[in-house]
Symmetry: none
Subunit: 237 residues, 2 copies
């Protein structure tokens, strides 16, 4: 089964998104006009517009009739509380990742309080645990459970300093479209105390999340512990 090539509008979306993410286009800049993008990439306007529609949807740009497409910058907009993964929520600070439990396949019974389908249950799940540090301070500990269907070579990929969301999007055409989350404040248990190097009774934020994707019936789950002492979570809504 050969991988189908990504459609043109999607390729353009990825290109422009990258240019915004790496700062080539900064907040407030105008993107090239639709006609210029057409000429530059040998596409027609509806195709270009579809790519821009996606960027609007992800809050990378806004458009003004008669004016142009205005870069909004990284959608801090979609901080960890609204949509994106951790990596894009951090911004330019140094984010390092330690894999505590390497991707491995195991069975599951439940997923942090969320119901899972019988099919997912029968196939088992990919299990990852990561500790993430911002500027060398441990801030996130996350456990991720992904249904084990058809993600070839997934367990052998490197996740160090890479965004899980980005891997899913680029290699498997899976985009997180939204989801559900519970959020609560708890005391640090022993394992968390150790990872975060904090005392007992230290208040910790916990998120239990279900991520829903563009692939029908495909959801995955994560539980995130956050030490908000030095870095609080920021999000737009």
């Amino acid at each position: 089964m050969a991988l189908k090539e990504a459609p043109q509008y999607r390729k353009l979306y990825e290109k422009l998104r990258k240019l915004i993410e790496n700062g080539t286009y900064a907040r407030g800049d105008l993107l090239p006009s639709e006609n210029e993008l057409c000429a530059a990439h040998h596409l027609t306007r509806p195709t270009v517009r579809k790519a821009l529609d996606m960027l609007v949807n992800d809050r990378f740009i806004i458009r003004h009739q008669g004016k142009g497409s205005i870069v909004q910058g990284q959608p801090k907009g979609i901080g960890i509380l609204s949509l994106s993964g951790t990596t894009s929520a951090i911004g330019q600070d140094k984010l390092t990742t330690h894999i505590i439990v390497k991707p491995n396949i195991r069975s599951w019974e439940q997923a942090f309080g969320y119901e899972i389908s019988e099919q997912d249950k029968s196939l088992g799940c990919i299990h990852i645990e990561r500790l993430r540090l911002i500027n060398d301070i441990p801030v996130f500990y996350d456990i991720t459970l992904i249904p084990n269907l058809n993600l070839t070579r997934f367990t052998s990929r490197s996740f160090e300093n890479k965004s899980l969301f980005e891997i899913l999007r680029k290699h498997y055409q899976i985009q997180v479209k939204g989801g559900e989350q519970k959020i609560l404040a708890i005391k640090a248990d022993e394992r968390i105390q150790e990872h975060f190097r904090v005392k007992r009774n230290h208040p910790i934020l916990r998120l239990d999340r279900k991520m829903e994707t563009n692939r029908a019936g495909f959801s995955f789950y994560s539980q995130i512990y956050c030490n908000t002492m030095d870095y609080s979570l920021i999000g737009r809504f």
Copy 2:
């Protein structure tokens, strides 16, 4: 200034959305095919597809190539983490409100870490503090700061068991369009211990929010303390 008529694709979106919301199309049903919708509404496929794109985006439907558009049903409520105020986030449980500090006008210097404009600063702000109980358990304590411009009779209104968001929308045509929030876990301080009837070191969730409205330049601010022991915050994103 006459109101411009809504575009065709938006009208179709509204129609189909209404049909899903009132149950004419139920979860699992197939929408009429794109060609049938074209014929029925005298539109062409690109226009129909644009309406369906919007429904996909809002998660009312998903589409399957070769199959059709499958109704997903109503996207579930948006909890406190995404957009709405507390009242609509609770659902059917009993929510009671105690006004701890009645609406009063005072000066402000800052608003929970957010920058405020010079104009807002010069006019002072309306200050409210409320304790909210779900099924008689104290769960939220919130402090709200609203710039004091032109909200006639605001301080004399009753806020018992009423939604602040609703008052702003109905009486002042102010709608919250989005905003920014910081979220962190803290230990209960003395005042919170008392209100929530919890011990020292009890983990508490704190949200610092800036609410942006449809009125240009008008934002207001709130700080919310949550006891997530019995009720965790649930939201979609």
